[in-house]
Each structure stands twice: as C-alpha cells, then as structure tokens.
C-alpha cells in the first residue's frame, strides 16, 4: 500500500526477508560457461532511451559537484518485465511493465544526497544533480575524473535470450508445472504458478571516472500448492530463480519445482503441534542458509558497523563462531540469483570470506561504508532500482561445505527438530536477535526423522547460533529468495546440513 513508502527507514519493525524455498540448485551442477555476456556492450542497450553519451553524463556529474562533495554518481536503468499468474488452472493475468529512470547521488563526508527522475534526459538529470548536491554544503571538494569505459569479468551466461522467447513458451512451462502439482496427489486442490522474467539494463558513471553498462536477464518461478484433507490445509511453496536465459527450464524442469511443492503440501497435512522449549536443531541443506543470511549476514553488512551500532562492531579478527563454521558471500557463482558482474556502484563482484573457521574476517561494504571504515570495496553496493541509492547488501551467502556426512549428523542427534525448509524470518542487526518460521519440520527421536510438526518458530541471537553449530555436512546446496532491507534484492542463501545445539523452538505443545 502507498503508505508503506512513508514509514521511516531503519525502524525496528521493518520486515525482512520473505520466504523461501529449498531450490536444489547445486553449484556443482552448473553448466560450463558457454556464452558469457560481455559486461561492457557497445551497441544500444534497449529501445528505452537509456543510451546517454559519456559527455552528457560527465556534465551531470560536474553539476552534482558544483557545491562541493567527495563523490558523485549517475545511475541509469531500464527494466522490461513480464509476470504471468496462473491460479485454479486458469491464466488469471498477464502483466507487462516498462520502468526506466535515472538517479544522481552526491556524497559529502558522511552525508548522501539522492534525487531521481523517470525521464532520462539531460535537463531532468541536471535538476536531480542540483537537488542531490544539497548535502554538499557539508564540505568536501573533488575534481571529477573524465569518464572512461571500464570492463568487468562476467559470471552470467545466456543461451536462450528472453527477447527471443515467444509468450506461448512461458505459458507452456506454467501449464506443465500446474499439471505436475495436481497429478502428484488427489489431496492437492490447487496450484498457484507465478512466472516472472525481467531484463534490466544499467549504466553507471561516477566522479572517479568509471563508466560501465550492462544488461542482465532474470527469471523467477514460484509454485505454491494447496492441499486439503479432513479440514486441514497447507499451502506450500517452491521457487526457482536465476540470472540466465530461458534455458533455465531445461536444466531445472518446471515439473520438478511443482513436485517438490506438492510433496511438502501433502507431507505437512499430517503435521502435529510442535513442542516448545530449547532443543537441538538439524537444518537440511539448501535454502535453510537463510538463517545465517539473517542472523549473521545482515549484522555483517557494513552500514551498521560504520554507525558503530552493529552486533559485530569491533570484533574483526576475533573468534565469533565455532571452529567448524565458515561463512562466505560470493557474487560470482555462475548465473545464480544473487550474482551480477558488478554491483550497482560498478565494483567487480567477488568472493568474500566473512567468517573463516570461526574467526571474523570482514564485512560487506558499499562505497560509502568502505570509506567510513577505511576498508576495501567488496562488491556489495546494491539497490532495488533507480528509485533507491545503494546500500550494503548480500549476494549469494552460505555456510561453507564441511566434513560431516548428513546422515551421521541426524543419526547422532538423539532428540530435537529436523528443519527441512524455512519460510523466512528477520533479524535486528543491532542486537542480533533473529526469528524464523519453519515451513516443513519434523521431530527427531533417537536419531531419526519422525512426526511432521506445524507452526514452529526458531528464535535466538546471532552470536549464540554460530557458536552452537557443532556439525557441518558435506552437502552444500542453495535456494533463491528475496531479501528486504527497506529495498528488496534478489539473493540466494545456502548451506550444507548443519546441527545447531540448543535453539529456542516455539511450538504450541508443552
């Protein structure tokens, strides 16, 4: 709703991360890089009028710094998106969207000025530059460097570009998913299939002389299945999301996504009340990594560290987790949902080890927080669209592969909860207090998965959870999701099967 927009950013009630799925997208299963997209194209990007020459961009940057300031940047964007929704075996709606615009950012000291416009024309961008330069009265003075085209390594391959895909093909994969979900079991009453694709063109130019442009495809496919039996209902969800062309559905057939959703919907019909109290938790590999995304990842984003309020402030080089725990944010994993060639400030994507064998190695920075902390840029400056300025965000975040056999982890856990998938959760990045809702979970009794349980919540603090991880499996896997932090971002989260000792589980049974 419209009023959301006026809620002040950074209020504690902001809701983080949505939802998820266990995507079953193994890095090991990635295809060889066949036709890498170049990240510095020379031809026109799109018909949307995003083509603006370097001289014009240079003039906008010069105006942005007229009042002073340490840094100025112009960001232009063009998005063409399609969404098709299928419910109750009917194609309910088709949405086609074009969104374009440009934003000008000025940084002066710790202050950021930002203004944007829907119209990518010099006059409007100059006006935005003047508005953004309001903060420059806070000092600083820098001479813009003449723009020069930069190049970046590419991590995205496309075999079947979205532009060449007929809409009938899109419809077809949805029908296949819908049918597969309904065919799975008579207790599946309805499937909801949500198909999304998007082509996003970007131009980034800044006062350091950087000039970059690229165009990336993105696909997101969601299947929900509603089961019902004896008045009990469960709505399950599975997602598939990559930066790639339509060949995604050849590698990951829509039927498989639908079957996974249907399996969960049926399995959870028999769920009983969850127990309450402090218990050992085994988390299955895959999207469960969203727990550390929330609990550890957000507190390691450098904006709160620069404000000196983050939970990990001043802990660099210290032992913060158990020896078996290594956590990585890697924006270079081929074609994954959190991958791009460079972030929305133009910094090359890279692999960042955040915690290695329990020792805190680094934070995730954008340009501003890297300056404030005197650290290097890590490629984590991301933004939802031209209507937002960049802030530190995660990309593909995961617990690194360990030594343990997943089966042994379960067998050696006498009593507890086995979490097969999580819905989503949130964290307070200052206190590190997190919460999660389980989507599919089971009791563990004598080292075996037994009764499915419904409505379990996991709560705790980030420091406790990473100290209490005592087993890490060798079965690293990932799932795609949407992360919210005042702005939304495409991410993936991953982990091998892990065991966390002593988490507070909220259930309705004593």
């Amino acid at each position: 709703m419209g009023k959301q927009k006026w809620i002040v950013r950074d209020m504690p009630r902001r809701k983080f991360l949505e939802i998820g799925l266990k995507g079953g997208i193994a890095v090991a299963a990635m295809p060889a890089l066949l036709s890498r997209l170049t990240s510095c194209q020379t031809g026109p990007l799109s018909p949307g009028g995003i083509d603006m020459d370097k001289e014009t961009l240079g003039r906008v940057i010069a105006v942005a710094l007229e009042q002073g300031g340490d840094f100025a940047e112009v960001y232009l964007e063009n998005r063409i998106s399609r969404q098709i929704v299928m419910e109750e075996s009917r194609f309910k709606s088709g949405l086609f969207g074009i969104s374009q615009g440009g934003g000008v950012r000025v940084i002066a000291g710790n202050s950021t000025g930002y203004a944007y416009t829907d119209e990518i024309i010099e006059e409007k961008l100059i006006h935005a530059a003047r508005v953004a330069s309001y903060v420059a009265r806070n000092g600083g003075s820098v001479q813009p460097v003449p723009l020069e085209q930069a190049s970046r390594e590419s991590f995205i391959t496309v075999e079947r570009p979205l532009k060449e895909i007929a809409d009938e093909k899109r419809i077809e994969v949805m029908e296949r998913a819908n049918q597969a979900a309904l065919d799975y079991d008579p207790r599946i009453k309805m499937a909801l299939v949500d198909y999304n694709d998007e082509i996003r063109g970007r131009v980034i130019a800044n006062s350091e002389g950087l000039y970059l442009r690229d165009e990336l495809p993105q696909m997101f496919f969601i299947v929900q299945a509603l089961s019902e039996e004896n008045g009990r209902r469960h709505l399950s969800r599975e997602r598939l999301g990559m930066h790639m062309g339509f060949e995604m559905f050849e590698q990951y057939p829509p039927e498989e996504v639908a079957k996974r959703a249907a399996r969960e919907a049926v399995a959870m019909l028999g769920a009983k009340e969850a127990p309450a109290g402090i218990m050992d938790v085994v988390m299955q590999n895959g999207w469960g990594g969203v727990l550390v995304h929330e609990a550890v990842g957000h507190p390691l984003e450098a904006d709160n560290i620069a404000k000196k309020v983050g939970a990990f402030t001043g802990k660099l080089g210290q032992k913060v987790a158990s020896d078996v725990f290594t956590m990585v944010d890697d924006g270079t994993l081929p074609n994954m949902r959190g991958t791009t060639n460079f972030d929305d400030e133009g910094t090359q994507m890279q692999r960042n080890v955040l915690i290695e064998k329990g020792v805190l190695q680094g934070y995730m920075t954008d340009i501003l927080s890297a300056w404030q902390l005197n650290m290097k840029r890590t490629g984590n400056g991301r933004r939802e669209s031209f209507r937002h300025f960049p802030i530190p965000r995660m990309t593909n975040t995961f617990i690194e592969r360990g030594q343990d056999e997943p089966a042994d982890i379960l067998a050696s856990t006498r009593k507890g909860i086995y979490v097969q998938s999580l819905s989503g959760g949130s964290v307070n990045p200052v206190t590190g207090v997190f919460n999660f809702t389980c989507r599919e979970a089971y009791l563990i009794e004598n080292g075996k998965k037994t009764q499915p349980i419904r409505g379990a919540t996991l709560i705790g603090t980030c420091m406790d959870v990473i100290s209490n991880i005592d087993a890490v499996g060798n079965d690293l896997d990932f799932g795609p999701g949407i992360c919210g932090k005042g702005q939304s971002a495409e991410v993936s989260a991953g982990q091998p099967t892990v065991r966390i000792r002593g988490i507070n589980v909220g259930g309705s049974r004593s």
């Binding site: 950074d10 109750e88 309910k92 969104s99 509603l226 709505l235 259930g507």
Partner: protein, 444 residues
C-alpha cells in the same frame, strides 16, 4: 498536462485498439525523505514521479501493462502491450470493471502545507528528535532518525464511464535508538505518521517513547516453558488480527485457502471482538474516497461480537461470488493489478484500562514485541518470538526476551477474555489491549 483528460483519452485509445473494456490508473507522486545519524545529515532523497497502468479485457481475457514514460508514443505502445498480452490469459466471465460513479466524501486527506514547510525546519526537527531520544543516560547510541513526506494524486478512468480523482498527503517522523548495559543491547524505535504536518506528534513525545522502548527491556529474565495468559499491547494487535484479515480475502475464501472459508454468520472468535473496516475515517492514514478500481469506500462491520459478517471483495471476485464489491480493491501503485485489502481497521474498544487488565492477571506475559508472521491465513496456525514483561500477582515483575508463543487461531481468538479501552484511532490498524486467557509460552 491535464491528467483527467489524459486518462479518459487513454481509455478511448484502448477501445480503439481492440479492447472491449479498459481501465486507466494514473498516479503522480512527489516524495522527500531526510535521515539524520549522530547529529549529522545522513541522507536527503527527493523525487517526483508518475506512471500509468492499463487493465484491458479482450473477449473476456485480461491483460495489464504499465510504464512510467508519459510521452504519447510510449503510452500508445504500452497500452497495445496490454491488449496483446491479454491473448495469453484464460477468458473469465468475472472480468468486470467498477460501475458505481459515486465518490465517498472523505475529509482531511490532503494538507497543502506539507510541501511549504521549509527544508531547514524539517531537517532541524529530525535532528531534534534524535537529540531528545539520546538524552536518557541509559540510551547510548542512535540508529538514526528520519522524516518522510509524500503527495500522491490518483486519476482513474474506465470504459464504464467512471472518471475519478483524489489527492492525498502524508508525513512521518521517527527515531530509533540503542540502550546498552554491559554486554546487553536493546533497540527502541517510534514513529508517527499523519496526513497533516501540524498533526505530527511533537518530537519530545516520539523521542521519549523510542527511548523508553530501548531501556525498558534491559535486564530481562527467562521464564520456564508454560501455559499462561498473554496480554497483547496495542502495538502488537496486528500480529494477532492481521491473519484474520488475510483470511477474509474473498478470493482466498473461494479458492478454499482460508481458515475462515466456512465461518460466515458463525461465531469463530470471542464475543468481545468486533472488527470494523473504515475507508472513510477523517484524516485516516488508509482512508480514501474510492478503492483501487474506483468503487466508493465505506465503513463496514466485518466481525460483530465474534460473528463473521462478511468477506472482502473487489469487483471481479464479488462477481464470481454472486455479490457486490465491498470497496476493498487494493492497489500497490500503478504497476499492480487490483488485489483485495482493508482500509483503516478498528477493533471496538472494551471496558477496561490496560492497568486493570494487568492487575486482573495473576500470572502471564504482557506482550510488547512479536516476530514472525502471526496467524497463518490458510491453516490458522500461530507461532512467533516474544518480548515484553512478565506479570506476577497482577503486577509487572520483570522484562522478558527470547520467549516464544504459539497456538491455533481458533484457540487464541476464542480465548480473548478482556479488551482495553485504549484504541488510538489515528493508527491504520487500531487495536486496544487484548488479553488471551491462556497460550503456550516457550522459555527455558
């Protein structure tokens, strides 16, 4: 440009290009946000934007497109996209547009003075609220303060001859701070949103509330896992009733994806619960003269003393259910199709002061913060993380953190046995203090 004429003209263009029916939803926005951190201006963001969404029906099939470039060429090609996209969808006899030409009179939606307040004054106000929130010695750090404002104009036209327009404003002021004691950290935040600038709460009041929320939960204790009463503070009423509202969505009911699908005219909750949806409340943050597809808004009782009185509908879902739209088409701007949602939601106040409810509770949890999704609208399950105060012998004994609460909607809603008289009608989700006789609480 005259947007009223433009939107009517675009409807005609849709029909001329092959649509059998068409709706144009055009939005013009202006926004400003100011953030302050540690007495320094952190960010200023300002923009004016506009965009248009086209919803068309072609032989019963629906297509939708949107763009934010209002040049004639771009508008024309975008509306043609909606028409060509329509061929992908399944024909549906329930694809209908709004027909009611009336517009509800709603007072106090637009304050022309929001934009006129000088920037310096707004910045100083944000600085002040942060400074005031930091005055308590238990508060050690700031997570920042902020001011936001926006103005929106909506122009809606459709091929049933509807042509409507309204303008609204909003502004908000808030701050978030951290209280520390030894290794303990706790955050507290408060904000106030209003239609009119002059109605914003004074910075002193917002700051004091944020500061209090930060320190009041220091030195928490842990309680045993047990069943006990849970008193929901008005701040967390949404966590209890939000899922009920989602379960009243008429489309989810028709699809069988609602735990209330068979509850119409039945009692499903305590007789102390009466829920009202009001799109007409003067100066209400969620008030508007017509809904997301042009149907006039109204004040409507959804739940009367625990009895479910009606579901929420937009035009097409109402048509399918064989009833009339309830004026509950929601819209997240010009880029989205109309969904279903509420306007201002009020829970009728009860007989007791919050203090009386606490003193009538021998043992239990005064819930001030809850995490998680609240009641699941499909299954009716409830589970979340909880913070607040522990009550012993009718008195607040100590703060608690790291607890969980859980139950099912049926058990929880029927167990509401006391309601407070403390409803703040300026909230878009206005709920009094509510006591649930007994819930499962997870602790040590």
């Amino acid at each position: 440009m005259n947007y009223t004429e433009l939107s009517a003209d675009l409807v005609k263009k849709c029909l001329a290009n092959g649509a059998d029916a068409a709706e144009v939803y055009l939005a013009v926005n202006r926004e400003l946000s100011i953030q302050v951190q540690d007495g320094e201006l952190e960010t200023i963001q300002e923009a004016s934007t506009q965009g248009v969404g086209f919803r068309v029906f072609v032989k019963g099939r629906m297509g939708f497109s949107h763009c934010n470039d209002l040049s004639a060429g771009s508008l024309e090609s975008t509306l043609k996209q909606a028409i060509s996209f329509a061929r992908l969808t399944t024909p549906d006899e329930h694809n209908v547009l709004a027909t009611d030409p009336a517009t509800t009179q709603v007072e106090g939606l637009y304050d022309p003075s929001v934009v006129d307040v000088p920037m310096e004054k707004k910045i100083n106000m944000v600085m002040e609220v942060e400074e005031l929130a930091m005055q308590d010695s238990r508060v050690t750090k700031s997570s920042g303060s902020g001011y936001g404002e926006g103005e929106t104009e909506i122009y809606l036209a459709n091929s049933n001859g509807l042509q409507k327009h309204y303008r609204s404003s909003a502004c908000s002021l808030g701050v978030s701070v951290v209280a520390e004691k030894g290794e303990q950290k706790n955050t507290g935040g408060e904000y106030c949103s209003r239609r009119f600038f002059a109605d914003l709460k004074p910075p002193e009041e917002i700051a004091a509330e944020a500061s209090r929320k930060a320190w009041e939960l220091l030195d928490p204790q842990m309680v045993k896992t047990q069943r006990a009463a849970v008193i929901f503070h008005p701040d967390v009423g949404r966590s209890l009733l939000g899922g009920v509202i989602s379960a009243l969505n008429g489309e989810r009911v028709l699809q069988g994806a609602s735990f209330l699908k068979d509850s119409l005219e039945k009692s499903f909750a305590s007789s102390l619960l009466t829920l009202i949806d009001d799109g007409t409340y003067p100066k209400g943050m969620a008030s508007r003269p017509f809904d997301g597809e042009g149907t006039p808004t109204a004040r409507r009782v959804l739940v009367d003393r625990g009895v479910l009185k009606g579901f929420l509908y937009n035009c097409s879902v109402a048509h399918r259910a064989g009833t009339e739209s309830t004026g509950n088409a929601s819209r997240r701007g010009y880029t989205s199709l109309p969904g279903i949602g509420v306007h201002n939601l009020f829970v009728e106040p009860g007989a007791y002061t919050p203090e009386e409810i606490i003193s009538a509770t021998p043992r239990g949890l005064l819930l001030k913060g809850v995490t998680g999704y609240g009641i699941d609208p499909v299954s009716g399950n409830f589970s979340g993380g909880a913070t607040g105060f522990w009550i012993e012998n009718g008195q607040i004994a100590f703060p608690v953190k790291g607890l969980t609460i859980a139950g099912t909607a049926q058990d929880i809603l029927n167990a509401v046995d006391m309601t407070g008289n403390d409803v703040d009608l300026m909230r878009s989700f206005a709920c009094p203090t509510l006591r649930v006789r007994e819930m499962q609480i997870g602790g040590k």
